[in-house]
Amino acid sequence: MKKLLHIALNELLLLRKDKMAVMWMIVLPLGMTFIGGLVFGAFGGGSEAVVIDLPVVDQDGGEMAAVVLDILSQTGNLNLETTYDEETARGLVADGKRAGTVVIPSGFGAAMISGQATALELIVTPGGQTAPLLEGMVRGVTSAFSNVQTTVEVAFREVQRATGSTDLDYDGIAGRAVATALERLHDPPVRAQVTTVGSEEEEFDVSGQIVPGYAVMFAMFSILSAAGGILEEKERGTFKRLFISPIPKWSLLGGKLVAQFLVGVGQIGLMFVFGALVFDMDVGHSPLGLLLITLATCWATTSLGILLVAVIRSRKQIHPITTLIILGSSAIGGAWFPLFLMPKAVQQVARITLVAWAMEGYNRLMILGGSLADVWANIGVLILYGLICFAIGLKLFRFKEA
């Protein structure tokens, strides 16, 4: 046991001397997490609503056009710009500086009152992502105006039919009817009543996903890279040098694995401290649960490492294979995006990766506010995963060649 610890300590000393390894273990993960935090808004404040600048060219200038502007301005996502002429507004859209522009044509109001066909013109760039949004908003306005116009026309005909009069003042009646209808647009008799049930939805803490996700991914890089170091030592001859020293072979291998395990635990711990200090990350209510999930994750990864080293015989082969495993399992296992947001099929496939079990545990504790009882299954599966890999890896590991 003493020699095992000696080997582990010496392994950590050698690791400390390897500047590239230190960069991989500390600088890169913290840097990537910081950048991830910036990109996904982990610094708080949540995501702000997108506001679209929309030039509106009012060529009508009448009361109806003012109503159009009034309705559009009530749409919270639009910032109406009414100072441009049509040519300038079209130019802004064509240059990609604006998503679209609305032109209220001359005679819009008169046509509206007289019951004639008219149109609001929406100019957008083809394929623009906000074009459907703008189109929906403008259609909402034109739909309201069409309804008013239809209602006035129906009402006028009913009056005409009831009175039998053929010389009624259409424009006067229509003008008053339109004015009344437009007033109702501000105070509609039929409203959409929105009722909320349940507790208020908590704001999603992005750092609670990013930090453990990146921590698990980079811990896998560190642990599996250190495992690959055994192959490097074999090829370099230093493993043989150690093997012929008075060190039991299980202490030799065990010492190296203990060092890898400690590196993984230390790295995840450091990432969590970083997350708590920089992002004010919510670590949930179960520190013991977090600790056990972390230990189980590092155990499983260390065991996976010895399995890979036993199966793969050359250092050149192990690096691309481990990279593929880490990135692949991180992508589908929930290290990059919460597992519960992924399609069901992906969630099922992800079950074969240790990352999925680890991330589900972290998500339950940190995002969903779960307790230790909620992650026992994850801890158990990770321990079992490690045991299986360890047993097979040990069976196949060759201390010496031929």
């Binding site: 001397k17 500047k19 008075p246 060190i247």
Partner: protein, 305 residues
């Protein structure tokens, strides 16, 4: 007293017999050498004795202990210099020595060892900064870090410059003077002749000769080679007429080589001839058989062919 006993050792890699029924003993305090070409089975044999490899058959005892059963106890008492050992390039020399010292029960102070090989000023240098010769010296003192009773040196001077080679030979002699037994493998003839008390010549996994270098060479019917340079002309026929001379070579520029079963009668007659003919002999050398000749006679091939 034997410190190593090997009986009927066999080791095969697939269809290749790397070691084919080897038996020998190494005595306490001697420098014992394995000489042979690459692939003769030297390294496989030494690695079996060290406990690194498992033989297919045969018995090996080291310091009275079973090489396999008592591997850890043996490892505490022996020093091993591998044929190819890379060191950790990012460690300093002092750190490396302390690292390996930590694996043994009673290590020697690393500073003492550094002083012994004249590298004390390199204690703080990174391994990657050392020259090839300096690195090999560090590898050599790693072998001594546990003050071993028995040293295994596998091709200890392979690829080294003459100065570093000579230095390591000196330390091997020194180790022997301190009572240590040395078992080395080499394919350098001079190394075996200069260092070893006894030499086993290996070929195709078998020991084809085992004795002191002098006895091995004395047992050969190899002619002596006498070389000299003269100033002035000399009739070849006079040289060919010298007693017991079998062959004369003349390079045309005054340098002659004579071959004869024994050098002594030729030398007497040659000196007499020089006096009567009035020429001076310069650069006179007599060269006898070498271990290379022994190997050639036994196998028909050169060691480094």
């Amino acid at each position: 007293m034997s410190v190593i006993t090997v009986e009927n050792l066999h080791k095969r890699y697939g269809d290749v017999k790397a070691v084919d029924g080897i038996s020998f003993e190494v005595h306490e305090g001697e420098i014992f050498g394995f000489l042979g070409p690459n692939g003769a089975g030297k390294t496989t044999t030494i690695e079996i004795i060290e406990g690194y490899r498992v033989p297919d058959a045969g018995q090996v005892t080291v310091l009275g202990l079973d090489a396999r059963q008592d591997r850890y106890e043996i490892a505490e008492r022996i020093g091993i210099m591998l044929q190819e050992t890379s060191l950790y390039p990012d460690l300093k020399v002092g750190e490396l020595l302390r690292l390996f010292a930590s694996y043994y029960r009673g290590p020697i102070d690393p500073d003492t060892l550094l002083e012994m090989i004249g590298l004390e000023e390199k204690k703080g240098a990174f391994i990657r900064e050392l020259s090839g010769g300096q690195r090999q010296r560090v590898v050599f003192i790693l072998t001594l870090i546990n003050d071993p009773e028995l040293l295994f040196l596998d091709e200890p001077t392979a690829g080294l410059d003459p100065q570093s080679r000579r230095a390591i030979w000196d330390w091997i002699h020194l180790a022997r003077e301190k009572g240590k037994t040395v078992f080395l493998t080499t394919h350098y003839i001079e190394e075996a002749e200069d260092l070893c008390n006894r030499v086993a010549i290996l070929d195709h996994g078998k020991i084809i000769a085992l004795d002191t270098p002098k006895r091995l060479m004395a047992g050969l019917a190899v002619e002596q080679k006498i070389e000299f340079v003269i100033q002035g002309a000399l009739d070849m026929a006079r040289l060919e007429a010298l007693p017991t001379v079998t062959k004369v070579l003349d390079d045309g520029q005054g340098e002659f080589t004579l071959y004869a079963p024994e050098a002594q009668p030729v030398l007497k007659s040659l000196i007499a001839l020089a006096e009567t003919q009035g020429f001076t002999l310069r650069g006179l050398t007599v060269e006898g058989a070498t271990l290379e000749d022994v190997f050639i006679q036994l196998t028909g091939r050169r060691i480094r062919a």
